[in-house]
């Protein structure tokens, strides 16, 4: 089967983002989506450290230590961009003004619960950042992650075992093997990579309630 690499996953997420959408891309994997936004759409990226209309990474010579994204990487600003403080930025996030937020995850449950901030392991130092605000705030929350851990465990689960970030907030999960839609009726497979049979995917995720939503 043709497992998607990270760039292909990012391109697949980007393909679904509408012209004119206001979008926050979470730290890590979702940041890659910025490199694949369709050139014919005007998509406005928000960074929770107070930027709307964020542009791509600058050339090394043009880096400005005071123009960074939420992942603390140098970025640029597009015409039409604006700056605001953290209070206003999280009012924007929490108040439901973003159309979409793409987040990474440790686990997503069949009811859309999200776990992406803390492994809960003994001795691990917790750090939450803006993850919980994004999880409750954006109009639509999607997750972008590899379906299986390095150890072969599925990250789409019946019930999260890691500490939660938000309850029933994820509506779509983009993975390297399939795309899953989550609603009150459960989980449907929206797309599968070439060469992966539905039944094989069901065995990988390990729960019977998975439905095939492909027309």
């Amino acid at each position: 089967m043709k497992r998607l690499d990270r760039a292909q996953m990012a391109a697949r997420v980007a393909q679904d983002i509408a012209d004119g959408a206001y979008v926050n891309l979470g730290i890590g994997l979702p940041t890659l989506v910025a490199n694949h936004l369709p050139a014919d759409r005007e998509i406005v990226l928000q960074s929770e450290n107070g930027i709307l209309g964020m542009g791509p990474a600058p050339d090394v010579d043009d880096e400005d230590p005071e123009l960074i994204n939420a992942g603390k990487q140098p970025v640029t600003q597009l015409p039409g961009s604006s700056f605001f403080h953290h209070g206003d930025s999280f009012a924007m996030i929490r108040g439901g003004h973003l159309d979409l937020c793409v987040l990474g995850a440790f686990q997503v449950s069949v009811t859309g619960d999200l776990a992406n901030w803390h492994t809960g392991k003994e001795g691990a130092i917790p750090a939450v950042g803006g993850a919980m605000d994004l999880a409750v705030g954006a109009r639509r929350i999607v997750v972008m992650m590899e379906l299986m851990t390095g150890g072969g465990e599925c990250k789409l689960v019946e019930r999260c075992t890691y500490p939660l970030t938000g309850l029933a907030c994820v509506s779509r999960v983009y993975t390297d093997l399939a795309i899953f839609d989550i609603d009150r009726n459960g989980v449907r497979v929206a797309e599968c990579v070439e060469g992966l049979e539905f039944e094989a995917l069901r065995r990988m995720v390990g729960f019977a309630a998975l439905r095939d939503g492909r027309s």
Partner: protein
């Protein structure tokens, strides 16, 4: 006449007392008041509670303050970073207390303090371990967590330009927590790159009105030089 200028960073932080609650601006290296933190280390106050987004990284700024053993408690959203080893070591040794707060809740609690509110209900964190033990309340068709304001004795922030009234403008993403922290402390100290003549800052573009700023210290060096130094 109003003139909030103070000659040196050390003078500006001279009265920070043992046990003080101190808001520290900055997100990553942008907007971090490095010279004020250095002055605070030199000044020697102990048992501080530091409220900031991060808990220091590398060897400078907050990390150095932590390393010097001056901090009893950190209230922040993101202590764990690739190079936050001073915080990590103190935390693992049980030598520092951590109150972990979602970033937007941290901002909202600071704003609530500045605005004189007694508390707020936020949807952030409902059903998660960070809401454990906190009051939750259903309002309309949604659950919210009750959160208290975060007041402080001092705020140390970095801005771009100031005038003698303490009016401030910031630069790009270095604005971050500065404007809200300025409102929540009894004494706000701003380090700036430039002090301009009163009236030179356009009244339409002032981000922090001088009423929120008690002291201004000009730090020599180009804009962003402090941050560049840390990045080096």
């Amino acid at each position: 006449m109003i003139d909030k200028s103070v000659a040196t960073a050390l003078q500006a932080v001279a009265d920070v007392f043992d046990g003080a609650r101190v808001l520290v601006g900055g997100f990553g290296t942008a907007g971090m008041p490095d010279e004020l933190i250095d002055a605070l280390i030199e000044q020697g106050a102990r048992d501080l509670t530091i409220i900031s987004n991060n808990a220091g990284n590398g060897e400078h700024g907050l990390a150095a303050l932590l390393k010097a053993g001056r901090v009893a408690k950190v209230v922040c959203s993101f202590p764990r970073q690739s190079d936050s080893h001073h915080f990590d070591a103190l935390y693992r040794a049980g030598k520092i207390e951590l109150e972990l707060v979602p970033q937007g809740t941290l901002a909202a609690r600071i704003e609530a303090a500045g605005a004189g509110l007694g508390g707020i209900y936020t949807p952030t964190g409902v059903g998660t371990p960070l809401a454990t033990g906190k009051e939750t309340r259903r309002i309309g068709d949604r659950d919210y967590v009750f959160e208290l304001p975060i007041h402080a004795d001092f705020a140390l922030i970095k801005a771009h330009r100031a005038d003698r009234w303490g009016n401030l403008v910031y630069r790009k993403a270095a604005r971050n927590f500065g404007p809200i922290m300025a409102t929540a402390a009894r004494c706000t100290i701003a380090q700036v790159t430039q002090v301009v003549i009163l009236g030179e800052l356009d009244p339409e573009v002032i981000v922090t009105p001088g009423i929120y700023v008690q002291r201004v210290v000009k730090i020599d060096g180009a804009a962003g030089a402090g941050a560049l130094g840390v990045a080096a």
